[in-house]
Symmetry: D2
Subunit: 288 residues, 4 copies
Amino acid sequence: MAVNNTERRAQERTGRNAGASGLEHDRWPTSLTAIEPNKIQVRGYSLDEMMGRLGFAEAVYLLLMGELPTPTIGRMLNAVLISSIDHGVTPPSTLAARNVATSGAPLKDCVAAGILAFGPHHGGDIESCMRFLDRGLTLVRAGTSMKAAAETIVRECADQHEAPPGFGHRYHIRDPRAARLFQMALELEVEGEHVRLIRAAERALETTYKDRFDRPMPVNVDGAIAAISADLGFEYELGNAIFLISRLPGLIAHAHEERTRMPPMRQIDPKDHDYDGARNRRLPEGRK
Amino acid sequence: MAVNNTERRAQERTGRNAGASGLEHDRWPTSLTAIEPNKIQVRGYSLDEMMGRLGFAEAVYLLLMGELPTPTIGRMLNAVLISSIDHGVTPPSTLAARNVATSGAPLKDCVAAGILAFGPHHGGDIESCMRFLDRGLTLVRAGTSMKAAAETIVRECADQHEAPPGFGHRYHIRDPRAARLFQMALELEVEGEHVRLIRAAERALETTYKDRFDRPMPVNVDGAIAAISADLGFEYELGNAIFLISRLPGLIAHAHEERTRMPPMRQIDPKDHDYDGARNRRLPEGRK
Amino acid sequence: MAVNNTERRAQERTGRNAGASGLEHDRWPTSLTAIEPNKIQVRGYSLDEMMGRLGFAEAVYLLLMGELPTPTIGRMLNAVLISSIDHGVTPPSTLAARNVATSGAPLKDCVAAGILAFGPHHGGDIESCMRFLDRGLTLVRAGTSMKAAAETIVRECADQHEAPPGFGHRYHIRDPRAARLFQMALELEVEGEHVRLIRAAERALETTYKDRFDRPMPVNVDGAIAAISADLGFEYELGNAIFLISRLPGLIAHAHEERTRMPPMRQIDPKDHDYDGARNRRLPEGRK
Amino acid sequence: MAVNNTERRAQERTGRNAGASGLEHDRWPTSLTAIEPNKIQVRGYSLDEMMGRLGFAEAVYLLLMGELPTPTIGRMLNAVLISSIDHGVTPPSTLAARNVATSGAPLKDCVAAGILAFGPHHGGDIESCMRFLDRGLTLVRAGTSMKAAAETIVRECADQHEAPPGFGHRYHIRDPRAARLFQMALELEVEGEHVRLIRAAERALETTYKDRFDRPMPVNVDGAIAAISADLGFEYELGNAIFLISRLPGLIAHAHEERTRMPPMRQIDPKDHDYDGARNRRLPEGRK
């Protein structure tokens, strides 16, 4: 129905003729949160009971997936959400947020503009990678080996001279976020077929297809989030949502820094910046 | 400088004349995240070390405040972020997100539109309440008692026939989220003067000023978040940001439900909905 | 390159390594507007000369297409821009804007949210229809008759049980905006093959394919804008842009009415509204 | 009511208790556009009659103001809308739109982000200037001379070391757009007290207050739009809306240029650009 016309549909449901067509009495369903006086239940759990007993990441999983995560999945999701919390000033989403901030617009406007920059090349990469991996797993289910399936989907991209979604980061030769996510997935035993396939694809890119790209093609953080989110059972669209939740604090922090530390209406040059914050701190040993 | 003109400032810094004015060699600072090849540090801590050792809420605190929270503050912040994660279909932000979703727009567009509806009457209430409480604490620092200061700031609102920011919820006579947040602040011993003042203001509204409003005026969740965020040291603008982070998963969940469960281009009536999800579930005893 | 990774590309161009790769000295081109002290040229024409000598619609054409429109095309474009200037309160874009307005957000936030609701089912329909017509014209260039080509592309949609993009409006059996646009295109002699094809497709829908849809399928205003914009030489993406420019004043008017006439934080029911403005006025005879 | 709480108000109007409070039967008014089958009236005028007989700028005036403009006011408004149609790549709104475009996001997302950058320092200047002028006209109505009133409001800004809103453009010593707008207002005899006051304020800045600012302080285009919009009777908020309508095509043109001409995911440096389009063209003599 993607090509149908709004206003036609819209008008079907308006005033008089809505009454005529009885639509005024239709009711529509929602299964997320039930509100009664002095009582709020999210997916059937009392919100005030959740407070103090769940971590925010676990509550996010409950709201999006409909069930409580196991503590293990909760730990994995916390790590996934932290992995993309910020990546400095240069992502276009961060620059969009800062350009709105320099005009004096309120924080929420800066954040909204930043979110709009999560396009197919940025954030949207996660959904693309989930679909890329599922193409391979369809082959596996048809009897192809994981290795052969990985080589097939990598070759398809190479033949189109495209980097496979979720691979490659010229600045990072080895993306420390992806490496850590895979290590945790292994340790927490939540590694599934999507992670195994993306690792196989990474090996294919390091060997057979090494010469087909002009640079190393390690799995990047988007690829790692995509594979792990898929193994955890998130839908494609919610894979992008995980990145959105993860990066929101970064957008807020940059917009707030721009609004409070820089002069208004400046020209923001993405190159001419220096980091002047704390460096090389270690987490206290006892932590977690 | 609020009234200065954009393009003048913008043009000062462009092409040729920027070169002429030497601006091409200016550099600008950021203190949030340092990026080097294969190395990412957030506020000086290695991002991959944070993964698995911090909860997402703790990482949010680190990014926004610049320092690690104590485990106690981490627990408090998790509860604050959970408290506003969703409030059903009727908030204008949720309806804005659903109206964008029904047009077939991508998830991020729905979320951005929802965030734009965090106006002065919605979400922005938190900053207003933080400022309201600080007016009272200024009196306290000048020697007024907490009780008298609370009565003064409440009277100022009553005289303007305005509900004090962070008070009143006709649907909830006793907001279960606020009650739980105050209980936790007490138990975790993070309760500070902002919480004490808002409780004093609540008492003033239940007694002296009871007849000045047409309904009960308990502290609502915005007020509780405002008082606790202020006691935790968040700036006004970041108080609103806490609400923004908290509600984002709710916007995502509603936009996703609209996109996956409802027909496109429907007329969304905020009244004619029914909850058809799980009810009255209990968290497993062992949980946290 | 649709699947490549943001931050990799972003980082390629940052600080130090940008310097290393010489990118700091790259310059990038724009061909829209040249700014010099006391001198502004849009597409090579002095902006202050344009003021008073061009209509806004003609200036829009110049900026987007790079050349001045003929006075005839200017008249056609004025009619196209007026045709979708508003369609009452029920389009999702209007409801998104009003839901943001009721939160007390500034006018620009309401407008931005409304624009985000120009999804594939709303506004985006114009690009879909332009592509639909070009599929048919490809057949015509290959020797198929206009009539046969129209029947082919209509059948393709009917076989997928989809309304052809730009057709059908259950509320309007005959869209007065489309009819007027086609009449003007004929009178102004700007009617081209896209308009001829869409009229042929409309005839096919009224005859051969009448029974394939549950309602009349006249060309709607999106279809008329699509065909005329294509005949005027607008790119697909700019076809949607024409709708965006046309509807912006409608979004502004509804957001402003919501902000100035209605109580804040109301629940906006798309059905329960009544029109209470002026009715049945006639343009003065002398007008244009 | 600015400090009231959303969800309280929202909940008042929901499901059951809305029914209970009878709100389900409330109807709400709109006076913009009346929709009936095959009939659309904007402010009481048939939309299809308007097409071909009004220019788009005149239809905008009708929709926002409720009445047809005189042909003279229509000409003035066309010039106002053209005056800010684009100002090159450096305004923050344009950079926000381009940063969203480079992520591969759709055109409408780029435009929405650009609109969010119309903050208090950019676009919002128009409302500030309208209020600034009305402070002066209040003095005039109290018997102060135009000259003395202008000196008073200029001095108030100078004493706060702020540029008066609508004045100053370091890049343009004499803003050609403002000069042309004032010339037209004079010729078309729509010049009113707001224009006379802003000219008086400009003279005060050139003489008495010359030494109070570090650069010339001519009226800029925002100031000219503010004064003329106020003389035409637009409300403050609609003054900003005029700028929004005027600049939208510029945002579209830059987003489209970025999407079609530049590589994706580039770092956009506002300084390192060159204009490579047409130059120094003249409008045909016969034009208008």
